[in-house]
Every structure is written in structure tokens, then in C-alpha cells.
């Protein structure tokens, strides 16, 4: 095929004149060469753009435009009427000021931090413990490990609904057990003290498989002779973990934790299904707050909702940058 001959170095052609490699061009075209050079360069450019176009359009339509719209939305006072007559006055940073001064801001900030922090802490440590446990490759280890992946395979809607049923004050199995032990019922989802705890527990359960899988694959990258050496030096299990496994797993751990942070910050479905962020603001995180402002209430407040969403994006973006930095360092080392 002649096409393959002419493709390499498309942009370079115009520059070098390319007389030697234009063998495939008919003599008539070759004769018009001085005049044809310009259109060809232009055509090469066009070709390049045509190839890039699908990706650029995709990025513009699905990333740049929604982001721009969200920023624009947060800087205006949108009402339902705005959709009809297209007018929404520009209010600058007023929505951000309102959001930060709102009585929900502090609880939402604390809840987001606690929810993310505690979830990550337990997901990671339990995931790590299980990874080390399964790395011993005992009988049925593969089967058990597969079972631990179940939370990951279930649709979040299913997991969250099941948790909500189990933790139901009156008819939940958890309270049935607690009362069976002679203790007083706990209003897991409906008391301000327990609502956040409940959603954190559910979220930890859902996040363990992710940590388990990544840390397990990280363990496989540690050379076996290091363990042999440690064993010869007389290290016990605990020492082997802290002196060999943990330090060598540090790069993988960093990435697991940072990815977990970005995922956990934006968790919405579990909380919404279990408590709707309530009672009142007791389990409201930024993600929940943003949705509740925009779509959950009786009067849609789209602009403040966009402002909260943007704050969340900024936080996630910072963690994203840290993630990229850490990953680069891992690649380099």
C-alpha cells in the first residue's frame, strides 16, 4: 500500500522538500510541486488536527464545558426562572460567601474530614492486615480472598440499602443482637451521635477490597529472598512486617491512600441512601450538601450547590496533584 510509505514524518515533509520520497506522487503532481507545497503543509496540519479532533472535542464537551458551566453557575444567582428567560444576574463570589457563612458549613467540613480520615485509616489498616494474611497462601486463601471482594462487586445501591436495613432502629438485625445481649437499642441512623458512625462503618466495609487488592499486588513485588534473609537473621513476624514489608510497600501504600482519599471525598450514594445526610446535618458531607442544595430540597438552589461542588473539586484537585507527584517519585525510584 502506498499510504504506508507516505505517512511517516508527515509534518516534516513540507520542510525538507521531500523530493526523494515523493516517488508515489504522479508526475503531473510533481511538476506542480512549488505551488503544491503550501496546500500540502496546510493539509498535513489539517490531518493532524483531524486526528486530534475526537479527543479534543471529547475533552471540551465532557470536561472543559461542564467545569466552565459549574464555575459560571456558582458565580450567578440561578433560579428556575433562569432556565426559561435565560437571565441570571452575576453575583461574583456571593454564593461562596453564603456557603461558607452557612450554619451547615462547619458541620459539613468536620463530617467530610472525619468521614474521609476515619474511613481511610480503617480501610487501609484492615486491607493491609488482610493482604499480609492472605499472602501466606494457605489452603482456601484464594477462595477467601475472592469472598472479600464481594463488597466491591455489589452495586452500591444494594450495599447501602442492606446496611440501612441492618441498622434500622426497630427492625434491624444489629439492634436485635444488641437487645438480645440485654443492652439498649441504638438508633444507628436516626440519632445525631450515631448517624456518621454508621455511614463510616458501611463505607469502610465497602472500601476494604480496594485496599486489599492493591496492597496484595504490592506484596507480590517484594523479593522473597528479603524475607529469607530476615528469617536467617532471626526476625520474628512482627519485626519482618515493620522492617521489611511496610517500608518496601510504602510507594504502593501512598498511592492506595491517595486514591482512597479522592474516592472517599466524593462518596455520595452510601450516605444518601442510608441517612440522606441527616438527621439534620449530622452526617452531611460536602458531596451530600451540594446535592441537597441543588436537587434534594423543595426549592432548588443551583448556584450555592455549584459553589459547594466547586469547593469539593478544589480539595480533590489538591489531592490529585499530590497523587501525581507521589506517583512520579515512585516511577523515578
Amino acid at each position: 500500500m502506498t499510504a504506508t510509505q507516505t505517512t511517516p514524518g508527515l509534518p516534516a515533509r513540507g520542510g525538507t522538500g521531500g523530493a526523494a520520497s515523493t516517488g508515489a506522487v504522479p508526475p503531473a503532481a510533481a511538476a506542480r510541486r512549488p505551488g503544491a507545497r503550501r496546500p500540502r503543509r496546510w493539509r498535513a496540519q489539517l490531518t493532524a488536527w483531524a486526528f486530534i479532533a475526537p479527543v479534543v472535542i471529547y475533552l471540551l464537551v465532557f470536561y472543559a464545558y461542564p467545569l466552565y458551566r459549574n464555575v459560571d453557575l456558582s458565580l450567578r444567582a440561578y433560579t428556575l426562572r433562569s432556565f426559561i428567560d435565560g437571565t441570571a444576574p452575576f453575583v461574583g463570589l456571593q454564593n461562596y460567601v453564603d456557603v461558607i457563612q452557612s450554619s451547615t458549613f462547619t458541620p459539613a467540613l468536620i463530617n467530610t474530614a472525619v468521614f474521609t480520615g476515619v474511613s481511610i485509616l480503617f480501610q487501609f489498616s484492615i486491607g493491609m492486615a488482610l493482604a499480609v494474611f492472605f499472602f501466606r497462601n494457605f489452603r482456601l486463601a484464594a477462595t477467601l480472598r475472592a469472598l472479600f471482594l464481594v463488597p466491591w462487586l455489589l452495586p452500591l445501591l444494594v450495599s447501602a440499602s442492606v446496611w440501612a436495613w441492618m441498622l434500622n432502629s426497630e427492625s434491624g438485625v444489629v439492634n436485635a443482637v444488641i437487645e438480645g445481649l440485654g443492652l439498649h437499642q441504638i438508633n444507628w441512623l436516626t440519632s445525631p451521635q450515631w448517624a456518621l458512625v454508621s455511614v463510616v462503618i458501611a463505607n469502610i466495609w465497602i472500601g476494604i477490597p480496594f485496599n486489599l487488592v492493591i496492597l496484595y499486588s504490592g506484596l507480590q513485588g517484594i523479593p522473597g529472598d528479603l524475607y529469607e534473609a530476615a528469617a536467617l537473621d532471626g526476625a520474628n513476624g512482627w519485626q519482618t512486617f515493620w522492617r521489611v514489608t511496610f517500608p518496601l510497600l510504602r510507594p504502593v501504600s501512598a498511592i492506595t491512600i491517595l486514591l482512597g482519599l479522592v474516592y472517599t471525598l466524593k462518596v455520595f450514594d452510601i450516605i444518601w441512601i442510608m441517612t440522606r445526610g441527616g438527621p439534620v446535618d449530622a452526617s452531611t458531607t460536602f458531596a451530600i450538601w451540594s446535592y441537597r442544595l441543588g436537587f434534594g430540597g423543595e426549592s432548588p438552589q443551583l448556584s450555592p450547590a455549584a459553589a459547594v461542588g466547586n469547593l469539593l473539586i478544589v480539595v480533590a484537585f489538591i489531592f490529585g496533584l499530590i497523587y501525581i507527584r507521589v506517583q512520579q517519585r515512585v516511577v523515578r525510584s
Partner: protein, 405 residues
């Protein structure tokens, strides 16, 4: 194939791909297609669970035949109606069924025609039901029918606990009855106090029954209504799960047969009849029936570019609101006296509910209109706050009133 054509083809291919991508996106952004044939009218309703074989769909079809047009019916969730309608601004349906407290919001956004514009006659519609669709003297829609809340009771549980339902006349006697039921080893009352519009809806009979006013959420009357609920929860007369119960889950609780009472809607009447449950009107604080809020959708005619369509749309609406076919299909009390009489003739046990709907009042009444949405949001937040023990009833209501202002 020579090189230039091959390259040109590739360029064309890549451009075509991008064009296709843009084209698909453009196609995505238009949610529904505009009816092209002159005889096709679109109707949006919030009943996705009623399919083409349901009595409601049949009632719509019958009206289509009667008016001589084709009606294309689209059903989506209630919660999405407002969002769908606002984002479809240039492409509105001919008839949209909207939850009654949302009518004022949509009218305020300039989406709906008035009866003056669309020429619909509302003189036969019951005044109290219709007023949910009226703002500043203009009428923006017609009710398909109305439902309301009542107090269901389980006669088996009550007789075992020695409660005579005739003794339940006001809040004090109701609370006494609940105590007797609980003392007999059963559960008192279940309702829905969830943090959504449903929670406010269920609270209103008690709120209005204490003579409280939605424009003054922190009044002592409002406090006494919220304290009634809070004390029931604290005293174990109502389960803690009411904080999360929707009306559906609350009904499921009641159906276990463990509860003496349940506050729920007329739409469960046939279910109650089967289970042997009966109902009374919700008592006011000092006796007599409390006004309950009306529920149910309004048929509205959204703005069209082609105003000549209104006449036919009005005929469709007239057909659906006439008599009791549509209302009965939806489990509502008919919006006209004639329709309600026909329903009563067919089923005399409906009397209690027809009276209750007659006593009921719309949530957006007292000229609250669009303000109701915000008030309701604060009201259900206050309910959540008090019932969960986050704040005392009076503090919760004070916070709510401050947030409304």
C-alpha cells in the same frame, strides 16, 4: 489507491468521526421529540408504575379517542417533574401533571398558562382543592383529584388493648389510647417524619390541628404540635424509625399488625379494606377533625409557541377531570361534586375520605404560593432535629423560622 486519496480519506474519516461525536451529543441534549403530526399531543405524568395496561392509561386513551387526537404519554418520577419541565423549556409537553405544591413554583417560573389563556372552565371544581393551583387570582391548573391523610387503626389491636375508637376525640385521648396499646404489648402509632416533603405533609394535620400558621413556625401552637410527636417518640408510643420512614415504609410497619394506629393517606384505602383496618379523621388538639393537607396532582397546560394547541389541550384536561374515571383510576377523590357523588354511589365506604378531602386544605393555601417550598424544607428539618434529639422542639422551630426569613 494513491497516497493523496488515502490521506484525504483518512482526513474525511477523522472529521466524520468528530462530526458523529458532536452529532450524538447534540442528539443527547434534546430529551424528547416534538410531536410532528397535528393530531399528536404529549402528556407527562408522574406515574411510572402505571403502565399502558393500567386503568389510568386507559382513561387517557379513552379521552384521546373522545377528543379525536393521539396522546403520547410519558411517565417519570414525581421528584423529577419540576427539573424535567424547567430544562425542557423550549420543548414542553401539551399537558403536564404536577404535584400540587409545585404548581406555584412552575407558574412563577412562567412555564404554565392560566385558565384565561387556555380557556378552561373550572367552575365545577371543588374550591378547596382548586386553590392549590391559584396564585393572585389566576388559576394555573386543574386537579386530577385529591387525596388526604387520615388516622388508620387496627381494630384487632385496639380491642385487645381495650381501646374504644369512639373515645379518640382529641390529642389527649389519642395519647391515652396509644399508652393503652403499648401497655398491652403492642406498638402505638407509626407515621412518616422523613426529611423530605413527605415529612412536612404528614406533620401538617397536627400543625394545623394546633391552629398553627405556616408563616409563623416558632409559634407556641407549632411547638405544641411538634412536642406531641417528640413526646410520643420519647415515651415509646411511636417507633424511632419514623424519622426515616417514608409513607410507604410506614404503611409496611402498620401492616405487620403490631401497631394500633397509623397516619397515612387515602390511597391505601383498598389495601386497608383487605387487611381489615379502618380509619377516622385526624383529631385536632382540642377535638374535632384537623384540616389535613390535600395531595394529588394538577393537570397543567405549559406554554406553547403554537397557541392554537391550547384549545385541544383544554379539551383533554376537561375530559380527564370530568366524572370520576381518571380520579378513580388514580385512587383519588374526584375533584367535582358530581364525580365524588358517583364514587360514593359505587363505594359507600368512601364517605369518610370524601368528607376528609372536603375538610382538607392545600399546602400552598393562605397565599403562600412559591414560599411554601422553602417553609416546608425548614419545617421538615425542624421535625428531624426535634425527633432525633438534636434540639428541643421550640429551639428547632426557632431555627426554622429564622432560616425562612
Amino acid at each position: 489507491m494513491n497516497s493523496t486519496t488515502a490521506r484525504r480519506l483518512r482526513v474525511v474519516g477523522a472529521l466524520a468521526l468528530s462530526a458523529a461525536l458532536v452529532g450524538t451529543l447534540a442528539a443527547c441534549s434534546t430529551p424528547s421529540s416534538k410531536p410532528t403530526a397535528g393530531g399528536t399531543y404529549t402528556l407527562w405524568d408522574p406515574y411510572p408504575n402505571r403502565d399502558a395496561s393500567s386503568t389510568w392509561a386507559k382513561a387517557v386513551d379513552a379521552c384521546a379517542t373522545q377528543v379525536g387526537v393521539t396522546i403520547k404519554r410519558t411517565a417519570s418520577n414525581t421528584g423529577d417533574t419540576v427539573k424535567d419541565l424547567t430544562t425542557a423549556a423550549s420543548n414542553l409537553p401539551d399537558v403536564a401533571l404536577v404535584d400540587n405544591p409545585k404548581v406555584s413554583t412552575l407558574a412563577d417560573a412562567g412555564l404554565l398558562t392560566t385558565t384565561k389563556q387556555n380557556g378552561f372552565d373550572v367552575s365545577s371544581i371543588s374550591k378547596n382543592i382548586l386553590s392549590a393551583g391559584q396564585i393572585d387570582g389566576k388559576t394555573y391548573g386543574v386537579p386530577t383529584g385529591a387525596n388526604t391523610l387520615g388516622l388508620y387503626y387496627n381494630p384487632t389491636v385496639l380491642s385487645a388493648a381495650g381501646v374504644d375508637i369512639a373515645s379518640v376525640k382529641d390529642w389527649a385521648s389519642l395519647t391515652d389510647a396509644l399508652k393503652k396499646v403499648v401497655a398491652a404489648g403492642k406498638k402505638g402509632i407509626t407515621f412518616s417524619a422523613v426529611g423530605t416533603e413527605e415529612g412536612s405533609f404528614q406533620f401538617l394535620p397536627w400543625f394545623w390541628g394546633a391552629k398553627a400558621d405556616l408563616t409563623k413556625l416558632d409559634s407556641s401552637e407549632a411547638d405544641s404540635a411538634l412536642s406531641l410527636w417528640t413526646d410520643w417518640l420519647k415515651g415509646g408510643l411511636a417507633p424511632n424509625s419514623v424519622i426515616q420512614n417514608t409513607q410507604g415504609t410506614s404503611w409496611d410497619e402498620f401492616k405487620t399488625g403490631d401497631f394500633g394506629f397509623a397516619e397515612n393517606g387515602s390511597w391505601f384505602k383498598s389495601d386497608a379494606d383487605t387487611a381489615g383496618f379502618k380509619s377516622i379523621q385526624i383529631p385536632a388538639e382540642n377535638g374535632g377533625p384537623a384540616p389535613a393537607p390535600t395531595g394529588g396532582e394538577f393537570m397543567t397546560i405549559p406554554i406553547q409557541k403554537d397557541t392554537s394547541r391550547y384549545a385541544t389541550s383544554a379539551k383533554i384536561v376537561a375530559c380527564l377531570s370530568k366524572g370520576d374515571t381518571a380520579a378513580t383510576a388514580l385512587g383519588y377523590v374526584a375533584p367535582t361534586k358530581a364525580g365524588a357523588d358517583a364514587q360514593l354511589a359505587a363505594d359507600p365506604t368512601l364517605q369518610g375520605w370524601i368528607t376528609a378531602v372536603g375538610d382538607a386544605k392545600p399546602r400552598t393555601a393562605d397565599n403562600l404560593g412559591i414560599k411554601y417550598g422553602k417553609i416546608s424544607e425548614q419545617l421538615y428539618t425542624a421535625i428531624q432535629s426535634a425527633l432525633s434529639g438534636t434540639a428541643s422542639p421550640s429551639d428547632a422551630l426557632k431555627t426554622a423560622q429564622a432560616a425562612v426569613k
